[in-house]
């Protein structure tokens, strides 16, 4: 049903995946960490290039560690974004306009059902 064939990544989605990973982990990561976490057929050089690009764009910090660098996300822009996102969602918003979100709020019964469904 999708327009993009399965397995092919959308434009910019590799960068998004790397940013998602750096945000998802609490500790700074090396290029090798990123490569093994994202896995697949991703070449080390590709990961390196993406990290350098993200650093040039001021989206990630880096410092020397051993022979390479470790990387972690820059928080300033994200803190500002969080403030504005919170403010936007705290006001009366069009619920249907922001329905397009991944999760939803659950009550305990729904949660119990979901946990049941997740049991193998």
């Amino acid at each position: 049903m999708g327009n993009a064939p399965a397995g092919r990544r959308a434009r910019g989605s590799l960068e998004s995946e790397v940013m998602g990973l750096l945000w998802g982990r609490s500790e700074p990561l090396t290029a090798a960490d990123v490569q093994s976490a994202i896995g697949g057929d991703l070449a080390y050089n590709t990961v390196q290039t993406i990290l350098i690009r993200l650093h040039e764009k001021n989206l990630v910090h880096r410092r020397k560690a051993g022979r390479g660098h470790v990387y972690w996300p820059v928080e300033d822009a994200a803190t500002a974004a969080a403030k504005r996102m919170r403010a936007a969602l705290a006001d009366p918003v069009d619920r249907h306009a922001v329905l397009q979100q991944f999760a939803a709020s659950l009550d305990e019964d729904d949660a119990a059902t979901l946990r049941g469904l997740l049991q193998p």
Binding site: A4, S16, A80, A81, H96, A97, L117
Partner: protein
């Protein structure tokens, strides 16, 4: 000028009553498009009916009464006065609701867009609430919180990105906006709006499952993100009720659905019925106006 003009006002009802059942089977994209199309037709024809009904009030206005060529010719009263007045009031109420709906939607999207400058199609908000939103625009981007990125593992994050990208790629906000506008002018269509909002989530789930190639993983990611909103902490003040997520996860655990075009027969017939009734009512109205002038 009787049956045909009232018919479109009622034809939204069967659509409303069957929408949820229609959504239960078949590919979500097909049903979402079909429901949106027929809701749009139903809203336009019911609004046009109200316009025609309200226009019959005009013959009582002094400047138009003066135009009456046949003061002696007694035409039957086309529509009882109170009905025409009620139609005018409903029309005004619908217009107010429509303007409010559009305004709120534009404001919400603008504020979400203003949250940050997207880099590679992504804005991260450093907030523990597990939220992710597809922000439409040209080209559109994702707005996700650090909370949801920390919650999910690498594979589940791929599901999340694929899900939100599907919303953007298929321009789901248009379907949601169309059914929102339809429900604003014709509140009978509110359940259809809810169903379409659910279907676009299902659609994005199916797309994400196809991209990552794993329905079970997709089900797990959706369920884990939803479960994180239980208990104390910043509740998602928005979003769908939990029952919808349970259904989404159930559907992902089941095999992928087959398209069932036959399910669109009902909505298509209803839309055709609306259009024919509207055509007949319009012709009758024109004939009446001619006779009267």
């Amino acid at each position: 000028m009787n049956v045909a003009i009232y018919l479109p006002l009622l034809l939204a009802l069967p659509l409303t009553l069957t929408a949820a059942r229609l959504a239960a089977r078949g590919t979500p994209g097909l049903i979402a498009r079909g429901l949106t199309g027929s809701a749009f037709v139903a809203a336009v024809s019911s609004t046009w009916s109200l316009v025609l009904l309200a226009l019959t009030l005009l013959d009582d206005l002094p400047p138009l009464s003066a135009l009456d060529d046949h003061p002696t010719l007694e035409l039957p009263e086309p529509v009882p006065g109170p009905v025409a007045l009620l139609a005018a009031l409903l029309l005004a109420w619908g217009a107010v609701r429509l303007v409010r709906d559009i305004h709120l939607r534009i404001t919400t999207h603008r504020r979400l867009r203003a949250a940050g400058t997207p880099q590679d199609g992504l804005v991260v908000a450093d907030w523990s609430a597990p939220l992710a939103v597809a922000v439409p625009g040209r080209p559109g981007h994702l707005l996700v919180t650090s909370g949801i990125l920390r919650l999910l593992d690498t594979d589940e994050r791929r599901v999340l990105f694929a899900h939100e990208h599907a919303h953007l790629a298929h321009r789901h906000h248009r379907l949601v906006a169309l059914t929102g506008a339809a429900a604003a002018v014709n509140p009978l269509l509110i359940p259809v709006r809810t169903t379409v909002a659910y279907l676009v989530e299902r659609w994005a789930d199916e797309d994400a499952a196809a991209v990552v190639g794993d329905r079970g993983l997709t089900a797990k990611a959706v369920a884990r993100a939803a479960l994180a909103t239980v208990g104390p902490g910043p509740k998602a003040a928005l979003g769908m009720h939990g029952g919808a997520v349970v259904n989404r996860v159930r559907a992902l655990i089941a095999p992928s659905p087959a398209p069932r075009r036959g399910r669109l027969l009902g909505p298509t017939l209803l839309a055709a019925g609306c259009l024919s009734a509207t055509a007949v009512a319009t012709a009758e109205f024109v004939a009446l106006a001619r006779a009267w002038l």
